[in-house]
Each structure stands twice: as C-alpha cells, then as structure tokens.
Symmetry: C2
DNA sequence: TTGCTCCTCACGTCACGTGAGGTGGC
DNA sequence: TTGCTCCTCACGTCACGTGAGGTGGC
C-alpha cells in the first residue's frame, strides 16, 4: 500500500498530525479498482495508464492481455504434459535419491533429444505404445540384439542371411514399441538414432552394432 | 552465464591468461542440464539442489512442481475466460478512449460484484441468456420499470393490484434474461441486488424503486 | 592502428516483504 | 508505564539485462 503511494498510484485522503495515513471512501474505491485490474494480470504500469486517464484504449489493453494470457496458458499446458510424462517415467524407478537423480538427468536428456526430432503428439503416441508393450516384446528385442552382437563379434558379414534374419526379428520386436501407421514418426526416430549416440546408448545399442544393422539393411551405406 | 558462475552453478573449465572463460564439454553438458531443468519451471535453487547432489528426491520435486503448474494453469484458465468475458462486454462499446475507460472500470466493478455472489458457471449461463435476449425483452423490462416508477411517484400503495400486476410483468420480462431452472442463480442475483446498491444502479433501478417492488411482492418486508 | 570480443563492477528490473529503529495514542 | 499500531528508511528477492569503462588478440 505504501508502495502504491511511492509510485503515485494511490494517495491517502489525509494524514493525522502524527503522520498516520487516512484513507477515505474514494481512496478505497480506487484501491479496489487497482486490485481488480491487477487480478486481470495487468502490471501496475498498465493500471496506472488506465486509471490516471492516459487515454489508452482499454479494448486494446484487454485484447493484448488476452493474447498474452492465452500464450502463457498454452505454454503451461505443454509444460504440464511434459511434467506428467516425466513423472510417469520416474514412477517405477529408483528409490535411492542419488541414483534417482542420475536417472532423472538421463531421462531429461532423452526427452530433450526426442523433442528435437519429434513433436508432442508423436511422442505421446510412442509412449502409449511403449506402455502397452508387454515383457515378451522387450525380451524379443533384447534377444535379437544379443544375437546380433554375437554375430558382429564372430565377424559374420552383415549381408549374411543369418544376420538379415536376426535383423528381421529385431524389426518385428521394435514394431511393438513404435506406432506403425506414421511414416514421420519412423523417420524421426531413425534420425534420433543416427545423430544422437546417447540415444542409442539408452536403448542398449552400441554405435558399432547400429552401424552393423544399418549395413545389413542397406549394404551401400558407408557409415 | 556469468550469473550461474556467481551463484556457484557452473564454473568455466579454465581461463585464458587474459581472463577469458573457457567452457569444456563437461561444462556444456552441465549447462544443457541446467537449461532443461529450468525449462521445466524449476528455480535455479532447485536446479542447484538436484545437480549438486544434495540428494533430494527428484520424484518429489517433479510431483510438487506438477501440482504447482497445474494450479497455475487452472488460474490462467480462469483468467482467460474472465478476460474473454470482459472483451465481449467491451466489444460494442465506446470508441472514445476516455469514455471507454469509464465503461471499462464500471464493467470491472460489476464483474467483481457478481463474482462475490455467483460462481463462474452461473455467470456464463446468465451471459448466454442475456446475449440471446432480444430488444423486445429489453423494452418490456424498461416499460414495466417506468410504469412502476410512475406508480411510486403517484403514491400508489405497493399492495395495489395495479402495482402487483406491473411487478408481474416485470418478472416476466426479467425471465428473458435469467436462467429459470436454477434456484441458486436466482438467490445469488437477489442477494446482489439487495446488498450492492451499485448493482441496482447499473440495471437502471433506484433503491427506492427496488424496495417498493419488494413490498409489493412481500408486504411484511421492512426494508 | 582499428574493430572486435571479452572482462569486471555496479545498478536497474517488478511488486512488494522484512527487518531496524523510532514514535504517537490508549 | 505497557503494549499496540503506525511511521520512515533501507535492503533483499529472482534471474538476469544493460550500461560504463577497460583490456587482450587479430
């Protein structure tokens, strides 16, 4: 209240001889106006412009503010769903706090990585599919990768039918985790895996193994 | 970036002989972590607690923040609809800025008054009904009030059948503006009119006229 | 020599909140 | 005399941004 006086918004109606502030009806009404306008999210500078009769169009101020509030709310909407996503990912995790922080930071990193290549709808769909996938699908994925790793270490050529067969199995296992009706999602995921080595790591894939699979699918590829 | 250093969040990996800061891979990774956590809406103090390994449960932090963000978003939702309401009310109004400010402040005042007695759903319904009402309904309302005002000035007793008949007409006109299927809305509106003289004024009713109508409806009332 | 970036230090932002130290009215 | 509220003045908040004035590297 003293602050409003300092910036010239609200003057006490009078002062007692000892200096105490006295507020009359008019001052109280003005205070209520100020508070109402503030509740709309207007800054005190804007409130001042309106109340002190700077002849500014209130329609414009309200419209501008509405646009701003809409933008903020949309940002908060997005933030909310991101936090929900994060909360779900952390749900079953570590109970030890130090380890949990590790997981947390890694998860965050993964999320920002995926956000670079996929939009929020695509990510939501991937998460849904991922949550719906059962343990068997996970096991199949791991088994295919382990077998491929063995072939890589044994020096089997990527063009070998055995390898191609394993890659085929791996693809089938992957299909349980990824929506299969959207080409853009597929492309985005492949981009992540190609350009972010850390993303490979988080899925239990070494870059060498990924390159090996790549050569099995497309023998012309050089990477 | 200098600020992060000041509060001890991020140290440059090294300095050149002339004092220029050099940031290595590790510092950049840390910076990305900081930025990610900030984007989630965490304060730098919380980021510091997480990153510097104060062993704080990230699940709790995320859950707390999610609750906070939800509350903020709900507040913004409400603010948004309030601003929309205000924008609609100002839509057809004054083009002169100074007069518009008057209307604006009066409208604001009315809105805060109604908000004290009715919840947002009730207000939305009233506004819908109000917007749907045609000019004839408005004319009927005005005519009934004008006739009642004449009877009051002529000294007709409120118990007179003529007056009761006019009050009946006024009630019918009012029904065009107010949802008729919710008792609570009715009660709230009556409370506003009884306790806020300014609300009466905004509807073109003097307190004396309102009291006169009150006596016509309920002769026992003393006010 | 001329720009250029980087340095440090300090102050401003926004709407208050919180003391420190003092005084008037009951 | 004892609490109580009110006064003024000044500094803190949060995450920087923006100068002022200076210096190193090309």
């Amino acid at each position: 209240l003293h602050y409003y006086e300092e910036i010239g918004l609200l003057k006490p109606t009078a002062r007692t001889s000892s200096g105490h502030r006295l507020y009359g009806r008019d001052a109280i009404e003005r205070l209520q106006q100020i508070k109402s306008l503030q509740q709309l999210g207007l800054s005190l500078a804007e409130v001042d412009a309106l109340i002190c009769g700077q002849a500014i169009s209130p329609r414009k101020i309200v419209a501008d503010h509405l646009a701003e509030v809409r933008a903020q709310r949309e940002a908060l909407d997005q933030l909310e769903s991101q936090l929900e996503r994060l909360a779900r990912l952390l749900e079953g995790g570590e109970t030890d706090d130090r380890a949990a922080v590790e997981v947390f930071l890694t998860t965050m990193e993964a999320m920002t990585m995926y956000d670079k290549y996929l939009d929020s709808k695509q990510i939501t769909r991937i998460n849904q599919k991922h949550a719906a996938a059962d343990a068997a699908a996970q096991a199949a994925w791991n088994a295919a990768l382990a077998a491929l790793r063995d072939e890589l270490q044994a020096g089997t050529k990527p063009t070998d039918p055995k390898v191609r067969d394993l890659v085929e199995q791996w693809h089938k296992a992957a299909a349980a985790f990824v929506p299969d009706d959207d080409e853009a999602t597929h492309e985005g995921l492949m981009k992540v895996l190609h350009e972010e080595p850390k993303a490979l790591e988080q899925h239990g894939l070494e870059p060498e193994l990924f390159a090996y699979i790549g050569r099995a699918v497309d023998p012309q590829s050089h990477s």
